[in-house]
Symmetry: C2
Subunit: 692 residues, 2 copies
């Protein structure tokens, strides 16, 4: 621990003597002393502050822009002023004339230190981008991308020194940029001479610094100065493929898009796709082609959106669940469809994009995050990287709900992970009126606990169902079903209004007093919407949600037992499901354990955010590789205790002592004594009203 | 220097104590002491003696066979006996039953040391293989190939340990064979699970240990035990492509073949092929496809010869002159056609064979030796590796004559290299009666110095021309011209018999006394064969040979000046030309400097031999890469002195003091005073007869 009130990373070995000016770089907080006349870029380099530069200090690329902060930074004992830096010189003036240099911006390769300075290195914020119901969160990712653009000017060939053109290029890159033992993508070898001559012996090499060989690699080569390179971060979900296109030099997201996973035509959920492979000799290949084509299509779309040529994409990071991961890579996922759920490969992987048919720059690289286990994939690794339970002391529960729920629980000391077989009920499948989130789907539900009358909202309609103009608007889109998030809400509201017991039984006795409770065979249903297309919540629907929530909750409880904790400090819901459900209802139903509701957050497509982090900063790749190797995977199927936890989790939470945080925001029904279980028992019970 | 009479490599750090048995391995001479009971294989490993083993000591692969030498090896103070090793155990008996173990052979993984031993590690000799007039010399190459086959048995997947199948395979290879940070060829990733299951969790991984990444790489994977892998060494000559197929495990050459380079249809010599590229937009591609197809065809042929499946080829080494090198790799050679003769790349290169369209195993690798300069290619590097001037103290002259002569001169201290523009005369081009070495070509010539009558041999005819039955036999093949080697002989014989002066002028005065000297325009010719198809050696032919030999000799002299030597200790003629000329005649004509004729040797396709060495022992790759970086390239075109050396070299050698070694074997004509130069002066000279 430091005693001077600075964090460890705010200090760095000082260069020069105590008489030299002190320079502090923000936001990294690194600082050091440098002799008068030192270029700001050189000072940044010496401190390990990441300032981009392509032209190597020639003041032509404009990538090394910084801003001088003026003022008295008493905390750091620095008075910073524009007088403490050289005035704009001829190089900066020339750059300003040619390409424009905004007021206040300086080229750090040309501006020299004259006195104490606080220098701001602009970081392009990764903006919040909505991607087909998956969103990257607001976040600043410090850049240290795998690809660096390096401009060099090489000597012309000389008969006295018969070294090849490529060999001289490598030597010059080593000399100017310090990259030793450079390799080059084979497809570039025939192009080297032409590019060197076209650039009149000045070329920009794109150096990939994160090859699995650990040697720097020339992956692209351009005549003259090339000032931009792009990357792709992509999450291949079973249902949706989401993608960001990012500038590798500024970190700016220039396009985000998504599309349905075309593999859906082979099977709605993961296991039906595995079955398809097992039943069809060409099934694996067809699905591999389908997903790669979809990704190539998305790249085209996102490039169009960003005005980017797809050949300017040099690096890519993918996350996916294990089955999507395997199918994307052309690996038969059959082993993942049955115990022991053997992954073909679990570690992080690298490819040439070309080798897996991704059409971007011929030298582009692909990085896939590691998989944690057979049911906890690279997407879970991405979410873990994004939310970083291992970076904090608080005990974080990170849940990504899909057909399987991937659950991570832990903190700095230890992270455990499990996959729980929730089935597709949360996604609206196996629900009688369930449907995808699309216009016409009910997305919000409230039930009056006295009258049992519902009100609801429909996607594509502005009004609630009890507001003026609703029916007219609803008629134009058609009210067709209930989407996943509303299923949670309606069942939770049915529970809170006493329509179902804590055991999930629809109270048939209410049929006598409310037309909303209707008999359907030997069980009862709740009539959410009457009319031409009746929308009901049946006893079976409630059972499906109960089973799903019990699976999730049992998985969470198992991990809490493994961690030896009775309460979690934070809950993070990743994925589309998490983004649209109300955490309160999730807790009412008992999907998640009790937790301070202000600490329960939806984090959108955390897997995609993790991919973005690994794209923009290669250190994050090493970070998640290391973490994944440490995460303890708990296999629920092998835990004898899991079955009991599952049975226990079938009931709704209703004890204030077990859910004190929840009890602060809703009134839970008291526990009722149920004479016998089963969905066919509805009559003979007293209805309790706890809310008025 | 050692004082015990052993070379440095005959000694190694002893293991164990002085009481432990002493084990000496031959032919490496490495020795050490090991406790009784140590398996011989383990002893070899500890001493760094290369003994192959695929099965990892399971006594199933049979690759680790050794022979115990019996006797008193007084020089090494060892009495070796079969009593000093355990008797054949059940494992060896089983191997003998299943696959056969020759008498005297032991499996070193099973045989244990009981007392002092001299162990012979059998080395398959690289045999002398005739390859379309290019021959690999007899030579034992110590094996240390880039590819190692490693059998492992891995644990079945386990839900408690969710590591992927590939990841567990890597761990087991690391554990059993010591390879860390293993990478895998991407195309294998989808195959891993199937291969592991087919092999019932026992697989053989082919590990490539010479990837440019410096990390060991799984390039092929086989279910169960795989006991053999092959490599290709190939020399891509302008005229001929020659190839060896070799077992990477035993070093045995299982096939050798060659074919004409199909690029000949685009241009006979190198420069005409460069011109073709410059004139035809698709020329480069057409020639690249042609040479790759020819190589693929040759691989099929050599595999058929050896009874080998081409997918068992895992490693390949290529040498070629710079223009062939570039065309093979798809690089436009135009820059090599004009000053400054810039190579696109000079360093050693590695590829996936697949990336350059070579059809062998999908994971096979290709290694290309480095080029020395724009006219001194990877073939010259191969010849240098083969003959190794840098490995000795003697001053070696290494000459590879083609359209250009590539010349290396040096020893341990320093090697210099040059290319000299000899033109195609030595190959029979530009010679009026010149032709390729084929049936019907005159290949040997003698001229009677008194009568001036010739006798000669013709390819395809057993008799000399003055022997009975010659004309009958000759009539059946037809005598059509003079091949390259005979051109040298006939001009040398013309000089020795006084028909031409030391300045190369055909003595027209002789026409008066011999019908063999005939006037052709203003100059004279020698009539070698009369009849339907007259074969003559014209004044222009002599001039062409003179120019070629002057270029070669001037290049050699330049290098001798650079080295500061007046005499070379050894001369090595590489290539087809060198294999068929008589060194004596080469010296008579002054192609090469004076040298003890017993030290002048033709070494056949030394470039190909170098490729073979680099294939069988990866240390040779590092060796030649290091040497090439040290070789000093002399550009004759930039040497002001070269022109004078060239003019001086036009005359034939005739001074005994300059050619004392030559004078021991032939009587050189004395120097005559020539009144004026030029081919049109034949008369008015006295003919001197020095031989009778």
């Amino acid at each position: 621990m430091r005693t001077d009130g600075l964090a460890d990373n705010e200090f760095n070995m000082t260069e020069g003597t105590q008489k030299d000016p002190l320079v502090l770089f923000m936001p990294s907080g690194k600082r050091g002393r440098f002799p008068v006349g030192t270029p700001v870029l050189e000072a940044a380099r010496k401190l390990g502050v990441y300032v981009e530069s392509v032209c190597g200090g020639r003041a032509t690329c404009g990538r090394c822009q910084v801003v001088v902060q003026e003022g008295n930074f008493a905390k750091h004992k620095i008075v910073s002023s524009n007088d403490h830096i050289t005035a704009r010189g001829p190089k900066e003036e020339r750059y300003d004339r040619v390409r424009g240099l905004p007021e206040g911006r300086r080229l750090s390769c040309s501006a020299e230190i004259l006195g104490d300075l606080v220098i701001d290195v602009p970081q392009d914020t990764v903006v919040n981008a909505q991607v087909v119901r998956k969103a990257a969160t607001d976040r600043v990712i410090e850049r240290n991308s795998a690809v660096q653009l390096c401009y060099v000017e090489i000597e012309e060939p000389d008969m006295h020194k018969p070294l090849g053109d490529l060999d001289r290029l490598k030597l010059m890159i080593e000399q100017d940029w310090g990259f030793k033992d450079l390799l080059i993508a084979p497809h570039l070898i025939p192009q080297v001479q032409g590019i060197l001559r076209k650039g009149n012996w000045g070329v920009t090499a794109a150096i990939h610094r994160d090859m699995d060989s650990s040697r720097p690699f020339i992956v692209a080569l351009y005549p003259g100065l090339k000032n931009e390179a792009y990357g792709i971060a992509c999450d291949i979900g079973s249902t949706t493929i989401a993608m960001h296109l990012v500038s590798l030099l500024s970190g700016r997201i220039v396009g985000s898009t998504g599309t349905s996973n075309p593999q859906i035509r082979f099977g709605e959920d993961l296991m039906s796709r595995v079955s398809y492979v097992m039943m069809n000799p060409d099934g694996r290949e067809a699905m591999t082609i389908a997903v790669r084509e979809a990704i190539n299509g998305l790249i085209g779309k996102v490039c169009e959106e960003g005005g980017v040529d797809r050949t300017d994409i040099l690096d890519m990071v993918f996350v996916a669940n294990p089955i999507m991961h395997h199918l994307f890579l052309g690996i038969d996922p059959t082993e993942l469809g049955m115990a022991p759920f053997a992954l073909a490969v679990s570690g992080a992987l690298q490819y040439w994009a070309h080798d897996i048919d991704i059409q971007v720059n011929r030298g582009a690289r692909v990085y896939l995050l590691p998989c944690i286990a057979g049911h906890v994939g690279a997407d879970a690794a991405g979410a873990t990287l994004s939310e970083g339970p291992y970076r904090q002391d608080k005990m974080m529960l990170l849940v990504d709900v899909g057909t399987n729920a991937e659950i991570m629980l832990g903190n700095r000391a230890r992270v455990v992970a499990a996959s729980s077989p929730t089935g597709p009920a949360f996604e609206g499948a196996e629900i009688s009126s369930g449907q995808r989130a699309a216009p016409g789907a009910i997305e919000r539900v409230r039930i009056d606990p006295v009258t049992l009358e519902p009100k609801y909202r429909v996607i594509g309609v502005d009004q609630w169902s009890d507001e003026d103009g609703f029916e007219e608007a609803a008629a134009s889109v058609g009210v067709t079903g209930i989407c996943g998030s509303a299923i949670i809400e309606v069942v939770a509201e049915m529970y809170l209004s006493g329509i179902i017991s804590e055991d999930g039984v629809v109270d048939g006795a209410m049929a006598a007093t409310s037309h909303r409770i209707i008999a359907t065979g030997r069980t009862f249903s709740y009539l959410l919407r009457d009319g031409e297309q009746r929308i009901t919540v049946t006893q079976n629907d409630v059972r499906a949600i109960q089973l799903a929530k019990a699976a999730l909750y049992a998985g969470i409880k198992l991990l809490m037992e493994k961690q030896g904790v009775e309460k979690v400090d934070q809950i993070r819901f990743a994925g589309a499901f998490g983004s649209f459900i109300d955490p309160k209802y999730a807790m009412v139903l008992g999907l998640i354990p009790d937790c301070d509701l202000t600490e329960v957050k939806a984090v959108g497509n955390a897997a995609g955010t993790g991919a973005l982090m690994a794209l923009l900063n290669r250190d994050h790749r090493r970070e998640i590789e290391k973490q994944v190797s440490k995460i303890e995977k708990i296999e629920t199927a092998l835990e004898p205790h899991f079955q009991q936890l599952f049975i226990d989790a079938m009931a709704m939470p209703n004890k204030v002592d077990a859910f004190p945080e929840l009890a602060k925001v809703v009134t839970l029904p008291e526990r009722k004594v149920v004479t016998s279980g089963g969905g066919d028992e509805g009559g003979g019970r007293r209805r309790r009203r706890d809310r008025g």
